[in-house]
Amino acid sequence: MNNTKNVAEKKSNTPILIIGVVLVVALLAGWYLLSSPKTATNTNGNTAKANAANTTKPNTIPANAPQGANPPNQQGSPTALVTLEEFADFQCPQCGAVHPIMNEIKSTYGSRIRFIFRNYPLAIPAHDKSYNAAVACEAAGMQSPNKFFEMQNLLFTNQKAWTADPNYRTTWKDYAQKIGLDVAKWENDMAGIAAKSRVDEDMRRAKGMGINSTPTLYINGVDVPFQQMNVTGLKALIDAELAKAAPQNQTAPAAPANTGNTNK
């Protein structure tokens, strides 16, 4: 009976067979690649983040990392039990998206956290104004530490408006006036070395830590995955850190529902 097998039927089975074989080979290849991790070297020298993901061990700040601009641009309490350190780029859309989340976290926790903002303008053509934006904030901060964050807030909030604006300098000048800066001094400081060197210090820290993307956030020195950079995710991490740091004194820091009214 085998000899009488229909030729057409035989033909129609061939592509299915080939497709099946390819599927099996692809799955096996994927399985092989997954199960035999090599200790490959990265030309960028940054294996820490990748390896951390592999072992689900959080990436932490290396002990010998450069310290960054000192004093850092910070809010909250310098003696708080939980420190958030964010590295961001003013032209990075994700940093713009994370900004209101950070604002909410800061207003929720107030002095229970220390928030440090680090400039990490990426040296890429698409982020052509990023470095200057960081300098603009540092120049604002030279008039008052709070002015740094007021300028930072305006730059992130209006990111889309100025990033494509050829007259962005004029727009920034408007922001400077809006937040009550001495505009002449601010412009002078922007051109000076002090503001730039603070940005450079932050960048040195970021590079020394092997950071290769923004926003990068550390909570008490532990890298936070981007997927967790939302209000719920961050609150969970901060509450856990608060509970860990003061298990006896603050019995219920994880329930900020009743504390929200006291902040403003």
Partner: protein, 169 residues
Amino acid sequence: MTEPEITSAKRTIAKLPLAAAVVALAGLADAVYLTAHHYNAEPVPCGAAFDCEMVLTSPFATLGGIINWFAAGTIAPGTAIGEIPLAAFGAAAYFVAFALATLTAFGDQRMWKLFGAQVVLMAAFSGWLIYVQAALIGAFCQFCLISAAITGTLFTIFVISLFIKPKTT
């Protein structure tokens, strides 16, 4: 094969899906490699002109990251589906493209239309991913560019097939 009077144009058409299948296989290999890289978190070998890790660890490397990008400001917590790397979808897409091209090569012409529809979508998405690398991440990874080139080739093969009409008498 059963028709003795097959024209040269018909033969060319039969070869195009075959070529597409072979090209799709290369895309499948590339995407499987990147998918495995994502899950075992091994850095990929990267040329000096590229920054593969920056691209492959960016939010745009996962489905969830892309959804977040389009729904700006409403970043959802990481979910199982959100963590799926884009490369895995690429692997699935190349496999389907391979299957459709193979079925066409063996005579099922209806599959070529599906192949065309899929390849047009893939090419559009690849174009957007190149934009993401250039404008939003500011770095390229060569495996991503290889994938884009493969999709471009599949698209070109399909377009060529539209211009080669069989000489039917």
